[in-house]
């Protein structure tokens, strides 16, 4: 329990820091193909989670994840809120109810599928799913965390040649091609921050 509370607090802070450092970059990406507020929206969500960090760290991990998800939904203020929120809420719910045999990648996959349903999106639609699915694959293959992070960053870059099929970028049609998706980018940044934190504090 003590260990979990340190983990939750550490991950919250690692995510907050990386989003704050990349806020302007994420807004810049979003200005190209969206409404330009993805960085500020994500920062607002992360700050709200940070404000609850002490309470969250006292909760069992599944409850903490579910509550973080709800806080993101209530504070991000764009489609990213329900998407990231669903990811974390579902992870929390699945972790709480999982069979003892079930490993984390199985739980993550179920949560990613819930995000896909929420956004009515598929792989290749130029969304954060285009990072989440490869991250899941890397984890399922038991790749080292450095490789998971690298896979996330590469996958975000690979959204550039895609044509947006969901969200506001889809209104641009072919003109969305050539730009990295902001949601995929924030997802890669968060993945990298999480991997780095785990490597530094929980060496494999």
């Amino acid at each position: 329990m003590q260990g979990e509370s340190v983990l939750v607090a550490g991950l919250i802070e690692a995510c907050r820091v990386t989003i704050a450092a990349n806020r302007d970059h994420l807004c810049e990406l979003d200005r190209e193909i969206g409404d330009g507020d993805h960085g500020t929206n994500m920062q607002r969500g992360c700050e709200a989670v940070s404000a609850e960090e002490k309470d969250l760290a006292r909760l069992p991990l599944p409850d903490a994840l579910e509550k973080i998800g709800l806080t993101l939904v209530m504070n991000i203020g764009g489609a990213a809120g329900p998407l990231y929120g669903t990811l974390l809420m579902e992870m929390g719910r699945k972790l709480r109810n999982r069979d003892r045999e079930e490993e984390f990648p199985v739980v993550l996959k179920q949560a990613i599928d819930a995000v896909a349903r929420r956004g009515r999106a598929h792989a290749g639609d130029k969304t954060l799913l285009d990072v989440l699915y490869p991250v899941h694959d890397a984890l399922a293959q038991r790749s080292p965390l450095t490789d998971v992070a690298r896979r996330a960053e590469l996958s975000a870059d690979l959204t550039a040649p895609m044509k947006a099929m969901r969200g506001r970028a889809s209104y641009l049609g072919d003109r969305s091609i050539g730009h990295v998706d902001p949601g995929a980018s924030s997802c890669a940044l968060l993945t990298t921050a999480i991997c780095r934190y785990l490597q530094e504090n929980y060496p494999e």
């Binding site: 409404d35 203020g77 809120g81 998407l83």
Partner: protein, 132 residues
């Protein structure tokens, strides 16, 4: 307030508080007080955006046992409305529909239909006839 009326409630969700309030004004002008009506516009800070908590409160405010029809502008408004309906919880969530209809025309025509005592299904169908 809404428990006294049997008419379907209307909720308007826009990224812009000005748009949401303006449409609510137009609906009110059309049907007066006989239709429960509420809006949510902007994010938690009142900037352009959407707010799942605010949408949830709007659904509660426009609640009618006959159900509630929600009108949304762009993507995030729809996704956050779905989230708000989930948070509303069962069984009330079954009596809330997001209309696939133009925001202004849809809300006004739906309110007109609701003011005549039409069912939620009829209100939604009438508004959705406007969609191409």
């Amino acid at each position: 307030m809404s428990e006294k009326t049997a008419n379907v409630g209307i909720v308007i969700v826009s990224h812009s508080p000005l748009v949401a309030q303006g449409i609510a004004d137009m609906v009110r002008q059309m049907v007066g007080d006989c239709v429960p009506l509420a809006w949510s516009g902007g994010n938690v800070r009142g900037e352009l955006g959407t707010d799942a908590g605010g949408i949830l409160r709007a659904i509660e405010a426009a609640w009618s046992d006959a159900g509630v029809a929600i009108f949304v502008d762009l993507g995030g408004a729809e996704t956050n409305s779905e989230m708000a309906i989930e948070m509303l919880g069962s069984p009330r969530s079954k009596f809330v529909s997001i209309c696939n209809a133009p925001l202004v025309e849809g809300a006004v025509i739906a309110a007109a239909e609701a003011s005549g005592g039409a069912s939620l299904a009829k209100v939604v169908a009438t508004a959705e006839e406007l969609s191409p």
